[in-house]
Protein backbone atom coordinates (compact mmCIF):
# COMPACT_ATOMS: atom_id res chain seq x y z
CA UNK A 1 0.00 0.00 0.00
CA UNK A 2 2.96 2.28 0.80
CA UNK A 3 4.06 1.99 -2.78
CA UNK A 4 0.63 2.61 -4.29
CA UNK A 5 0.93 6.41 -4.41
CA UNK A 6 4.43 6.62 -5.97
CA UNK A 7 3.46 3.95 -8.49
CA UNK A 8 0.25 5.79 -9.31
CA UNK A 9 2.10 9.11 -9.66
CA UNK A 10 4.60 7.42 -11.93
CA UNK A 11 1.89 5.99 -14.11
CA UNK A 12 -0.25 9.14 -14.33
CA UNK A 13 1.97 11.03 -16.80
CA UNK A 14 2.11 7.94 -18.97
CA UNK A 15 -1.66 7.62 -18.88
CA UNK A 16 -1.94 10.92 -20.74
CA UNK A 17 0.23 9.65 -23.56
CA UNK A 18 -1.44 8.73 -26.82
CA UNK A 19 1.06 6.02 -27.50
CA UNK A 20 2.63 3.60 -25.09
CA UNK A 21 6.41 3.61 -25.23
CA UNK A 22 7.74 0.04 -25.40
CA UNK A 23 9.29 -1.02 -22.09
CA UNK A 24 12.42 -2.16 -23.91
CA UNK A 25 13.27 1.44 -24.71
CA UNK A 26 14.25 2.06 -21.11
CA UNK A 27 16.91 -0.62 -21.42
CA UNK A 28 18.47 1.29 -24.30
CA UNK A 29 19.62 4.02 -21.93
CA UNK A 30 22.55 1.86 -20.87
CA UNK A 31 23.66 1.35 -24.47
CA UNK A 32 23.13 4.90 -25.70
CA UNK A 33 25.79 7.59 -25.73
CA UNK A 34 23.16 10.36 -25.61
CA UNK A 35 19.75 10.03 -24.01
CA UNK A 36 16.94 12.55 -23.83
CA UNK A 37 13.82 11.61 -21.96
CA UNK A 38 11.24 14.36 -21.53
CA UNK A 39 7.85 13.69 -20.01
CA UNK A 40 5.65 16.70 -19.52
CA UNK A 41 2.02 16.23 -18.65
CA UNK A 42 -0.60 18.99 -18.89
CA UNK A 43 0.07 20.33 -15.41
CA UNK A 44 3.82 20.62 -16.01
CA UNK A 45 3.24 22.28 -19.38
CA UNK A 46 0.98 24.83 -17.69
CA UNK A 47 3.59 25.37 -14.97
CA UNK A 48 6.31 25.83 -17.60
CA UNK A 49 4.18 28.23 -19.61
CA UNK A 50 3.78 30.45 -16.52
CA UNK A 51 7.52 31.04 -16.80
CA UNK A 52 7.29 32.04 -20.45
CA UNK A 53 7.25 35.78 -20.86
CA UNK A 54 4.35 37.52 -22.62
CA UNK A 55 6.66 40.38 -23.54
CA UNK A 56 9.23 38.31 -25.41
CA UNK A 57 7.66 37.56 -28.83
CA UNK A 58 9.34 34.14 -29.11
CA UNK A 59 8.27 33.05 -25.65
CA UNK A 60 4.79 34.47 -26.18
CA UNK A 61 4.55 32.43 -29.37
CA UNK A 62 5.58 29.25 -27.55
CA UNK A 63 3.13 30.04 -24.77
CA UNK A 64 0.31 30.29 -27.30
CA UNK A 65 1.53 27.13 -29.01
CA UNK A 66 1.58 24.98 -25.88
CA UNK A 67 -1.63 26.46 -24.49
CA UNK A 68 -3.73 23.64 -25.93
CA UNK A 69 -1.35 20.80 -25.11
CA UNK A 70 -1.99 18.02 -22.65
CA UNK A 71 1.35 16.27 -22.89
CA UNK A 72 4.74 16.25 -24.55
CA UNK A 73 6.80 13.07 -24.47
CA UNK A 74 10.18 12.76 -26.12
CA UNK A 75 12.58 9.85 -26.05
CA UNK A 76 15.75 10.15 -28.03
CA UNK A 77 18.75 7.83 -28.08
CA UNK A 78 22.00 8.22 -29.93
CA UNK A 79 24.43 5.33 -30.11
CA UNK A 80 28.12 4.99 -30.85
CA UNK A 81 27.51 1.60 -32.47
CA UNK A 82 25.01 0.70 -35.16
CA UNK A 83 21.81 -1.31 -34.63
CA UNK A 84 21.61 -1.15 -30.86
CA UNK A 85 17.81 -1.13 -30.71
CA UNK A 86 15.29 -3.73 -31.80
CA UNK A 87 13.31 -3.02 -34.93
CA UNK A 88 10.41 -4.77 -33.18
CA UNK A 89 10.24 -1.93 -30.61
CA UNK A 90 9.69 0.54 -33.42
CA UNK A 91 7.17 -1.82 -35.00
CA UNK A 92 5.22 -1.88 -31.71
CA UNK A 93 4.99 1.90 -31.92
CA UNK A 94 3.94 1.87 -35.56
CA UNK A 95 1.26 -0.71 -34.76
CA UNK A 96 -0.23 1.69 -32.21
CA UNK A 97 -0.27 4.41 -34.82
CA UNK A 98 -2.28 2.31 -37.26
CA UNK A 99 -5.46 3.01 -35.29
CA UNK A 100 -8.34 4.80 -37.01
CA UNK A 101 -7.62 8.14 -35.35
CA UNK A 102 -4.05 8.26 -36.62
CA UNK A 103 -2.86 9.07 -40.11
CA UNK A 104 0.70 9.03 -41.39
CA UNK A 105 1.18 12.37 -43.09
CA UNK A 106 4.86 12.06 -43.91
CA UNK A 107 7.10 9.10 -44.47
CA UNK A 108 10.63 9.64 -45.73
CA UNK A 109 13.20 6.90 -45.88
CA UNK A 110 16.63 6.34 -47.29
CA UNK A 111 17.62 2.73 -47.84
CA UNK A 112 21.17 3.78 -48.55
CA UNK A 113 21.61 5.52 -45.22
CA UNK A 114 19.11 3.32 -43.38
CA UNK A 115 17.18 6.40 -42.25
CA UNK A 116 13.46 6.50 -41.75
CA UNK A 117 11.31 9.43 -40.65
CA UNK A 118 7.58 9.39 -40.11
CA UNK A 119 5.08 11.96 -38.94
CA UNK A 120 1.65 10.91 -37.76
CA UNK A 121 -1.32 13.09 -36.89
CA UNK A 122 -4.22 12.15 -34.70
CA UNK A 123 -7.54 13.76 -35.53
CA UNK A 124 -10.82 13.61 -33.70
CA UNK A 125 -13.96 15.31 -34.98
CA UNK A 126 -11.91 17.14 -37.57
CA UNK A 127 -9.50 18.55 -34.98
CA UNK A 128 -5.84 17.65 -34.59
CA UNK A 129 -5.47 16.11 -31.16
CA UNK A 130 -2.06 14.52 -31.36
CA UNK A 131 1.24 14.32 -33.16
CA UNK A 132 3.77 11.52 -33.26
CA UNK A 133 7.19 11.47 -34.86
CA UNK A 134 9.42 8.45 -35.28
CA UNK A 135 12.93 8.99 -36.57
CA UNK A 136 15.24 6.04 -36.91
CA UNK A 137 18.65 5.54 -38.35
CA UNK A 138 21.29 2.93 -37.53
CA UNK A 139 22.68 5.06 -34.71
CA UNK A 140 19.62 6.97 -33.57
CA UNK A 141 16.10 6.42 -32.38
CA UNK A 142 13.83 9.37 -31.60
CA UNK A 143 10.18 9.19 -30.67
CA UNK A 144 8.03 12.24 -30.05
CA UNK A 145 4.44 12.20 -28.91
CA UNK A 146 2.56 15.45 -28.44
CA UNK A 147 -0.94 15.25 -27.03
CA UNK A 148 -3.34 18.07 -27.75
CA UNK A 149 -4.14 20.59 -30.39
CA UNK A 150 -0.99 21.25 -32.38
CA UNK A 151 0.04 21.87 -35.98
CA UNK A 152 3.40 20.32 -36.96
CA UNK A 153 4.34 23.39 -39.00
CA UNK A 154 3.97 25.60 -35.91
CA UNK A 155 6.61 23.59 -34.11
CA UNK A 156 8.78 23.28 -37.20
CA UNK A 157 8.67 27.05 -37.63
CA UNK A 158 10.13 27.55 -34.15
CA UNK A 159 13.48 27.01 -35.89
CA UNK A 160 15.54 30.17 -35.57
CA UNK A 161 13.75 31.18 -32.36
CA UNK A 162 14.24 30.33 -28.69
CA UNK A 163 17.73 29.00 -29.43
CA UNK A 164 16.30 26.36 -31.75
CA UNK A 165 18.51 25.95 -34.80
CA UNK A 166 16.98 26.79 -38.15
CA UNK A 167 17.71 24.25 -40.81
CA UNK A 168 17.59 25.26 -44.45
CA UNK A 169 14.58 23.57 -45.93
CA UNK A 170 14.15 22.51 -49.57
CA UNK A 171 13.21 25.50 -51.72
CA UNK A 172 15.18 28.01 -49.64
CA UNK A 173 18.22 25.81 -49.90
CA UNK A 174 17.67 25.33 -53.62
CA UNK A 175 17.10 29.06 -54.08
CA UNK A 176 20.27 29.80 -52.15
CA UNK A 177 22.18 27.27 -54.20
CA UNK A 178 20.65 28.69 -57.39
CA UNK A 179 21.69 32.19 -56.41
CA UNK A 180 25.18 30.98 -55.64
CA UNK A 181 25.30 29.24 -59.00
CA UNK A 182 24.14 32.46 -60.71
CA UNK A 183 27.14 34.24 -59.23
Amino acid sequence: MKFAIPVLLGVLPLAAQDIKMPANLDRLEAKASEVVNVQLDGALIQLASRFLSDKDPDEANVKRLVGGLKGIYVKSFEFEERDQYNKSDVEDLRAQLRGPAWARIVGASSKKKGENSEVYLKTEAGQITGLAIIVTDPKELTIVNIVGSIRPEDIRDLGGHMGIPKIDIGPDKKDKKGKEDDK
Partner: protein, 103 residues
Protein backbone atom coordinates in the same frame (compact mmCIF):
# COMPACT_ATOMS: atom_id res chain seq x y z
CA UNK B 1 16.05 51.63 87.89
CA UNK B 2 13.67 48.73 87.51
CA UNK B 3 10.76 51.14 87.29
CA UNK B 4 12.39 53.03 84.43
CA UNK B 5 12.92 49.84 82.54
CA UNK B 6 9.32 48.71 83.10
CA UNK B 7 8.12 52.11 81.99
CA UNK B 8 10.17 51.89 78.84
CA UNK B 9 8.71 48.46 78.10
CA UNK B 10 5.19 49.66 78.82
CA UNK B 11 5.72 52.65 76.53
CA UNK B 12 7.09 50.44 73.80
CA UNK B 13 4.24 47.96 74.07
CA UNK B 14 1.55 50.55 74.57
CA UNK B 15 -1.16 50.64 71.89
CA UNK B 16 -0.67 53.58 69.60
CA UNK B 17 -3.34 54.97 67.35
CA UNK B 18 -2.38 54.83 63.68
CA UNK B 19 -1.60 58.07 61.94
CA UNK B 20 -4.51 59.70 60.10
CA UNK B 21 -5.50 58.08 56.73
CA UNK B 22 -3.29 55.08 57.56
CA UNK B 23 -6.01 52.64 56.45
CA UNK B 24 -6.64 54.60 53.27
CA UNK B 25 -2.93 54.63 52.49
CA UNK B 26 -2.61 50.89 53.11
CA UNK B 27 -5.66 50.12 51.00
CA UNK B 28 -4.34 52.49 48.31
CA UNK B 29 -0.99 50.76 48.34
CA UNK B 30 -2.64 47.32 48.08
CA UNK B 31 -4.80 48.52 45.18
CA UNK B 32 -1.77 50.05 43.47
CA UNK B 33 0.16 46.84 43.89
CA UNK B 34 -2.73 44.82 42.48
CA UNK B 35 -3.10 47.27 39.58
CA UNK B 36 0.64 47.16 38.90
CA UNK B 37 0.57 43.35 39.00
CA UNK B 38 -2.37 43.27 36.55
CA UNK B 39 -0.60 45.75 34.26
CA UNK B 40 2.55 43.70 34.46
CA UNK B 41 0.60 40.52 33.63
CA UNK B 42 -1.11 42.29 30.73
CA UNK B 43 2.27 43.43 29.46
CA UNK B 44 3.61 39.89 29.81
CA UNK B 45 0.69 38.41 27.88
CA UNK B 46 0.94 41.14 25.26
CA UNK B 47 4.64 40.37 24.84
CA UNK B 48 3.95 36.63 24.58
CA UNK B 49 1.12 37.26 22.09
CA UNK B 50 3.30 39.63 20.04
CA UNK B 51 6.14 37.11 20.05
CA UNK B 52 3.72 34.36 18.99
CA UNK B 53 2.27 36.51 16.20
CA UNK B 54 5.77 37.42 15.00
CA UNK B 55 6.87 33.76 15.17
CA UNK B 56 3.77 32.53 13.31
CA UNK B 57 3.95 35.31 10.71
CA UNK B 58 7.68 34.71 10.26
CA UNK B 59 7.17 31.00 9.90
CA UNK B 60 4.31 31.53 7.42
CA UNK B 61 6.42 34.01 5.44
CA UNK B 62 9.37 31.62 5.43
CA UNK B 63 7.10 28.74 4.39
CA UNK B 64 5.59 30.84 1.61
CA UNK B 65 9.06 31.92 0.48
CA UNK B 66 10.37 28.37 0.36
CA UNK B 67 7.18 27.20 -1.40
CA UNK B 68 7.63 30.00 -3.91
CA UNK B 69 11.29 29.10 -4.37
CA UNK B 70 10.37 25.44 -4.84
CA UNK B 71 7.65 26.34 -7.35
CA UNK B 72 10.03 28.68 -9.19
CA UNK B 73 12.65 25.94 -9.42
CA UNK B 74 10.05 23.42 -10.64
CA UNK B 75 8.73 25.96 -13.15
CA UNK B 76 12.20 26.76 -14.49
CA UNK B 77 12.97 23.04 -14.73
CA UNK B 78 9.67 22.43 -16.56
CA UNK B 79 10.37 25.36 -18.90
CA UNK B 80 13.85 24.00 -19.70
CA UNK B 81 12.36 20.57 -20.41
CA UNK B 82 9.64 22.10 -22.54
CA UNK B 83 12.23 24.04 -24.55
CA UNK B 84 14.34 20.90 -24.96
CA UNK B 85 11.33 18.89 -26.15
CA UNK B 86 10.32 21.63 -28.59
CA UNK B 87 13.91 21.98 -29.83
CA UNK B 88 14.18 18.26 -30.59
CA UNK B 89 10.73 18.17 -32.19
CA UNK B 90 11.37 21.29 -34.27
CA UNK B 91 14.75 20.07 -35.50
CA UNK B 92 13.31 16.67 -36.41
CA UNK B 93 10.39 18.26 -38.27
CA UNK B 94 12.72 20.64 -40.07
CA UNK B 95 14.95 17.74 -41.15
CA UNK B 96 11.92 15.77 -42.30
CA UNK B 97 10.68 18.81 -44.27
CA UNK B 98 14.14 19.15 -45.75
CA UNK B 99 14.08 15.51 -46.85
CA UNK B 100 10.57 15.78 -48.26
CA UNK B 101 11.37 19.01 -50.09
CA UNK B 102 14.57 17.48 -51.37
CA UNK B 103 12.82 14.49 -52.95
Amino acid sequence: MMDDFEKQIQDALARKEPSPFFEARVLGAVKRQARDRRASMRMWWATVAAALVIAIAGSAWQHQRSEQAREDAAGREAKARLELALRITSVKLQKISQKVEGI
